[in-house]
């Protein structure tokens, strides 16, 4: 974390509650331009709620309430605002425009009754004030950016006509359509097959080089973390356990939880040269 620039996004002491349950407890981290930050944790660690809170989506459609902390965001003109303090209408202008998000299930995340082209163009029309035809041109552009084959034809297709990998590409295209400075990807490859996952991860890395967007990737998969992240935030039971560069976390984990987590990750190639299957060497197992 040797970045001296002011951060693009700075989450400070963020706390989110669901009724009496604290889903996110005083979570802090920074995100810089061009950086890929992985937030990793198991079920119930609070990682997805953290992501939804940055978008202020946790208050829409869930019972979650942000009860403390700051989310400081640097606008393209250099001004820094606290997202938590912004009105819903300011947030609407930012969502899909300055900060955008993709989700785990590409099938259910796309509206089944509209064509994918329409769904991408909708965001462009909203944020960039383009008319329908121009927005469709932009949709085609981003479809090509995410390497969707026969992009023009796909614009007019419905989500159910596409494969899982193509749907996730559409989601990424939609997210990138307004050139956001921050992209939040919530388990973007969890629902995909491994060969498709590899393609999507490769694509995301390539796109980051091309667009220089900062990326927050929420995942439970240490393999994905190792593959794409510059820096890592490890979460457990609503709190940040440890954060650092990807090399620090994988090679010099400081906290027992991180060590235990890493010990239980099966690593391809770790069994080379052994004939019999082998148990995991788990910390604290009888």
């Amino acid at each position: 974390m040797a970045n001296s620039d002011p951060p693009l996004l700075s989450v400070r002491e963020l706390t989110v509650t669901f009724d009496a349950f604290t889903a996110v407890d005083r979570v802090s981290f920074d995100l810089h331009e061009g950086q890929t930050l992985a937030v990793v944790g198991e079920s119930g660690s609070g990682k997805s709620v953290t992501a939804l809170s940055i978008m202020r989506l946790v208050e829409l459609g869930t019972r979650g309430r942000i009860t403390g902390g700051e989310i400081l965001f640097r606008l393209p003109d250099g001004a820094v605002i606290d997202l938590i303090q912004q009105s819903e209408s300011v947030m609407r202008d930012m969502r899909g425009n300055n900060i955008s998000m993709i989700f785990q299930e590409p099938l259910t995340s796309l509206n089944p009754v509209y064509t994918v082209g329409n769904q991408v163009a909708e965001a462009v029309m909203l944020h960039q004030g383009l008319d329908r035809a121009e927005a469709m041109d932009r949709a085609l552009e981003v479809f090509e950016l995410v390497r969707i084959p026969e992009a023009r034809q796909r614009l007019g297709e419905y989500p159910h006509q596409l494969s899982g990998g193509m749907r996730q590409r559409v989601m990424i295209a939609m997210a990138l359509s307004c050139d956001p400075t921050v992209l939040i990807a919530d388990e973007p490859t969890t629902a995909l097959d491994v060969t498709i996952q590899a393609q999507i991860l490769g694509l995301m890395r390539e796109l980051q080089n091309e667009t220089n967007a900062a990326v927050i990737i929420i995942t439970h998969d240490m393999g994905v973390v190792a593959e794409v992240a510059d820096d890592v935030v490890v979460m457990n039971q609503s709190r940040v356990v440890e954060q650092g560069s990807v090399y620090d976390i994988f090679e010099r984990p400081a906290e027992p939880y991180t060590r235990a987590l890493l010990a239980s990750v099966p690593q391809l190639g770790s069994m080379a040269g052994r004939d019999e299957p082998a148990r995991f060497d788990l910390v604290g197992e009888a």
Partner: protein, 292 residues
Amino acid sequence: MTDVMMPDQQELVPAGRDAWRMFLRNRAAVAGLIMFFGILFMTFFGPMLYDEDPNDIVARPFLEPGTEGAPAMGTDYLGRDVLAGVINGGSTTLTVAAIAAVMIVAIGVTIGALAGFYGGTVDTVLMRFTEFFQVLPALLFAMVVVTLFEPSARTISIAIGLVLWPSLARLTRAEFLRLRNLEFVKAARAIGSTDLRIISRVIFPNALPPLIVSTTLVMGAAILFEAGLAFLGLGDPNTLSWGLMIGLNRGNFLNAWWTVTFPGLAIFITVLSFSLIGDGLQDAFNPKLRGR
């Protein structure tokens, strides 16, 4: 693997006792239960407490309630006591509805369960059969059955049973289809449980909550149906019923509102009690759907 799911949102399927407690916490449902028992009490004990014969002419016709010498709910076009009619008119309706409901549940659940569990050709054939009964215009068909044969309580029950079972069959089928593919049902098959055991011990108990809810609503529908037939004059001509009372006084309701209002209110309260109970049960069985 999303972690948005909070512990309290996890699939909690309340067992019988929990559901009962949730039900009792639902004020509307309890009101429904009280209304239902009130109607039952009136129907079966009312005649002992208020022993006016509903067929006797007790006063001048069309005495408005509250006027000199009028019974509590006034008199009808022949001068019969409307209150006596309301008290005595429920037993046919309730009996017919109960018999019809038993028939509906028996046919609907059996057909739906077989179609949903076995799928394939069995499903196709049974569903065509069900569709056929859904295409029949229910009331018209029941009217034909009742007039062509004899308009007795038994015929009427059978006619209602015959036309109202398809929706329950569809619901049962949908539940069985859904449950059949769940892994605990597959596990039961992998263990070697017989089909009968899987249907009766594994799938059926899990399909029961929506079926119970549906059955209460079916009771309401059967009551409305019986009342409709009686209103048209196609009920059992020998017994008094709420629907018949409204039908008989239909020509005079503009100058004698009470002759139709009170029997109608009795039907309405009875059906409403079932609706409220059904609604409460739905909430109790499925806390996630609360407030819908």
